[in-house]
Symmetry: C2
Subunit: 394 residues, 2 copies
Amino acid sequence: MNVMENLLSERIKSTPPSFVRSILKTAADPNVISFAGGLPNPVSFPQEELLVSMERITKTYKDKVFQYSITAGLPELRQYIANRYNKKFGLNLDIDNILITTGSQQALDLIGKTVLDENDGVLLEKPSYLGAIQVFSQYMPKFHTVDLTDKGLNIEQFKSALNNNIKLMYAIPEFQNPTGLTYSAENREEIFEIIKDKDIILVEDDPYGELRFNGKHLPYIGAGRFKNSIVLGSFSKVVTPGMRTGFIICENKELLKNISVSKEASDLHTNIFSQYLIWDYLMHNDFEKHIAKITELYSKQAQAMLNAMDKYFPKSVKYTRPDGGMFLWVTLPENVSALELFPKALEKKVAFVPGDPFYINKKNVNTMRLNYTNADCDTIEEGIKRLGELLEGI
Amino acid sequence: MNVMENLLSERIKSTPPSFVRSILKTAADPNVISFAGGLPNPVSFPQEELLVSMERITKTYKDKVFQYSITAGLPELRQYIANRYNKKFGLNLDIDNILITTGSQQALDLIGKTVLDENDGVLLEKPSYLGAIQVFSQYMPKFHTVDLTDKGLNIEQFKSALNNNIKLMYAIPEFQNPTGLTYSAENREEIFEIIKDKDIILVEDDPYGELRFNGKHLPYIGAGRFKNSIVLGSFSKVVTPGMRTGFIICENKELLKNISVSKEASDLHTNIFSQYLIWDYLMHNDFEKHIAKITELYSKQAQAMLNAMDKYFPKSVKYTRPDGGMFLWVTLPENVSALELFPKALEKKVAFVPGDPFYINKKNVNTMRLNYTNADCDTIEEGIKRLGELLEGI
């Protein structure tokens, strides 16, 4: 084992273990009602339509869908993305602002790789997406966190955190993972005013933005007006995650060119068949209608979970009420460890993610993440009921 | 630009620019006969059969082919790979020795990420694969190179290079990229004897191994007998490169687990649809027959290139005679720069890759790489004839 240690990089030694994956394994028993994962409901995969598109692109573009391709990604798909965001958010993007990535997770890796040196400051929400913590950890930065409130970032903490040589700021302003919280328009404006003249990179991760079931879409903090604005998008939640197709929207084309060099070194280019497939699907189907179908379903499931929590959870337990996305966040009384609760929940055949991996070096926290997208309403009620019985005992 | 520099990591600043891609752009004119790329002939894509497999897997496995999946890769595909290598090379692999990657390029990135700290020693062939130089550069190691001869590594140089705190050795013993050279059985044995008790990681990159048109398959240097042996394989050259599906075969399961953590941080998992697709294709078709079809074609094309070179090139120009793979390597008289020749070749509507990017910090070398897999025999003869006219003038 000592020899093994010598062979590993400091980078991998400072990477947090794959918390959720190990938890998911223990929760893999099909009799367990799992709120632990982050799987979209299969209704979000337009399977029949994708099969039609597969036939069409294979017959139309022949060897092109199977051959090596360019690093930046299929121009037609990048144009579609530019057009969609220009229309929806009043932006002024062209295809050179867009880089196709192997899922949003790769986007985080490429950004970290391209901009982070050891000990550079990275600003995160507290709590933040565990996959971002994991991937940025590999570049050995110093993390600085800012409390997330139901309006967005705690502004005083935010101002103070910016004094720490911050190079990269990572936020999920819409239906945040893990909390389900959304930054208010005012909070976004305040954040923009504070950073607008600063030489930092602002990454707004937006994988769930299309999945809004309450209220109206809000403008991004930085897109279209902040020089080093990056927005991350993904087809994982609205077409298929298995195809690993996401994208980076970057205001600064010079920065994106550098990210693109990292992309080439990392995997040459994203699966070109999948890019043609998703583009063809988008061209030949009513995407808005498809999204509406998914959000309607998730809205019902989120409501089923909230109704069950109102009914079965003790009053001392608090939880968020998301306007979209896939998760909500439960806060237990202060002295209760969600991690210690986990094995007891498994005994009752119900699973969740204890809050720990969403924090930097914080253990036995009193929070947990629940996913509501991958179970039907009756199953959700039954799972929450079991969890409620457990929580009554704390 | 100064502000921009401040935002970039040392890592990206030490990454060589994307040489081949920029050259490929200038050679994108359809009237140019290009020997510059590394594209497989489309005959290597079993398009009809893949379409049949797409329909079958979509109907059989439904949402599973579109959903998130596990980081290690589809167990059925890993089992297939283990069985194939066990049978062909007398190995003793199980699925925990196999990690599916987003192409072989990602395998290089994951290995670099998992084992390399700044200034660690990396041993490469001279010349070596430019994509490996690019990706390892991002981890800022010290490179040490060993001359490649027509028998394999120069053994004296190799012994001496090993004195440089080498952590990782990277080699392409079969139909090397860029030279087309293959290590002899004796050279492999000598290398093994020298490293067998050393705590280094040996990566044998083998994307072309299936494409042998002369002679017999040779055993790997390390597979099955060296504790930190890694072999890289790929479906890019025998099924489809567009699907970005490669794999790592690693003797040391503990090491592979660490690489797998880097994989999860990098892109969660490889496109699961592609994994099902390739596995289904392999299960339902005569793969050996398909490989035979490709190698027969490449053999003819390689021969056409060699015949034309014998006919049109001046005697002062030397070249390798590959037994398989996709490339051959041309050595010009000592004082001739292939890079300076390149624009003149483009005027004659023929393109190649000047040798420069295959070396660490060496400029205006007298070598070039030619690819013979992606043009028919008549086009190859015409292209070599044009190149010959140019070389007559040097």
